[in-house]
């Protein structure tokens, strides 16, 4: 009903002819009535609706703020997490590099050791072979010497049998007995 007040005033005034400031189309009573209507509307809305609306808006704002804060926090945590992950990855890469380097080193030293052992074995085999060859040569020399001595003995015996008769033997014996005296 109050809303109709300005309409009624406006229609009454429309019947009258405008003067002074009203000639500009500005009606102070209408403005006043509108102001009063506005104030009444304001108080009614404030009493019945504004609190709820503001409360709801406040709630929504809080929720939004909360969400924004949470987002910011999560963003921050994500950044932290990314940094930590990156740090861990770097550490892991470093450790992996160290392990690989150690592995290479160990493999290298094992290879060197194996080479040295193989060389040592080869040297030992060679020395053993040399020794065996030397032994075989010595043995062959000994056998040859023995065979030669046997042949010399046989030849000497044959010559003695051929050349020495009873007379020569007697002379030999007499000489030997003379030496033994």
């Amino acid at each position: 009903m109050i809303a109709f007040v300005p309409i009624f005033i406006a229609s009454a005034e429309a019947a009258a002819e405008p003067e002074g400031i009203a000639a500009l189309g500005i009606d102070p009573w209408a403005i006043l009535a509108q102001a009063v209507t506005f104030l009444v509307l304001f108080f009614l809305i404030k009493k019945f609706a504004l609190t709820k609306i503001v409360g709801t808006l406040e709630e929504r704002r809080k929720t939004i703020d909360k969400g924004v804060m949470l987002g910011i926090e999560m963003e921050k945590e994500k950044t932290d997490l990314d940094e930590r992950v990156e740090a861990l990855l770097q550490k892991a890469r470093k450790e992996a590099d160290t392990i690989i380097a150690q592995g290479h080193e160990e493999a290298g030293s094992m290879l060197k050791e194996a080479e040295a052992q193989a060389q040592h074995k080869a040297d030992a085999l060679l020395a053993d072979a040399h020794n065996r060859i030397a032994e075989d040569i010595d043995k062959a020399k000994q056998e040859l010497k023995k065979d030669m001595v046997e042949l010399v003995g046989m030849a000497t015996a044959a010559i003695i049998r051929e050349k020495v008769d009873a007379k020569k033997d007697t002379q030999l014996i007499e000489r030997m007995l003379e030496e033994v005296k």
């Binding site: 015996a157 020495v164 020569k168 014996i173």
Partner: protein
């Protein structure tokens, strides 16, 4: 096999019998029969050595002479002289000759406790053993 004591005793008996008995063949037969009966034929060499030792103690030096050819009287005399120098206390010297062509030349004189081997074969054997 007889023990050393038994052999020594037997050798002493044989040495005594050799002094008394003229026939060496008969003595040899008796000794052989005894050894066969007593199953001591394997000890013959040892017994003979013991006999020589026993005779040496009694002043009889028995020497085995081994040569490639038969010995002349002069060589035998020289050998006897050599034995006299070696055994001044001995009363009697008996020389047993053996001719073995395989010694080639020279002489080997063997008594109970000593040996002189100047044969060519011994020298050749020594040479062979050296190498």
């Amino acid at each position: 096999m007889a023990t050393a004591t038994q052999r020594t005793e037997l050798a002493r008996v044989i040495a005594t019998m050799m002094q008394k008995q003229a026939s060496s063949k008969q003595l040899a037969r008796q000794i052989a029969a005894y050894l066969v009966q007593e199953h001591q034929t394997k000890d013959l060499d040892l017994i003979l050595r013991d006999v020589l030792t026993a005779r040496a103690r009694d002043g009889v030096i028995e020497a085995n002479l081994t040569t490639a050819f038969p010995l002349s009287a002069g060589v035998k005399a020289e050998v006897k002289q050599l034995l006299k120098n070696e055994y001044p206390a001995a009363k009697q010297f008996v020389l047993d000759e053996t001719v073995e062509p395989q010694v080639l030349s020279g002489i080997k004189v063997q008594t109970a406790d000593k040996q002189l081997d100047q044969t060519a074969q011994a020298k050749l054997d020594k040479l062979t053993r050296k190498f």
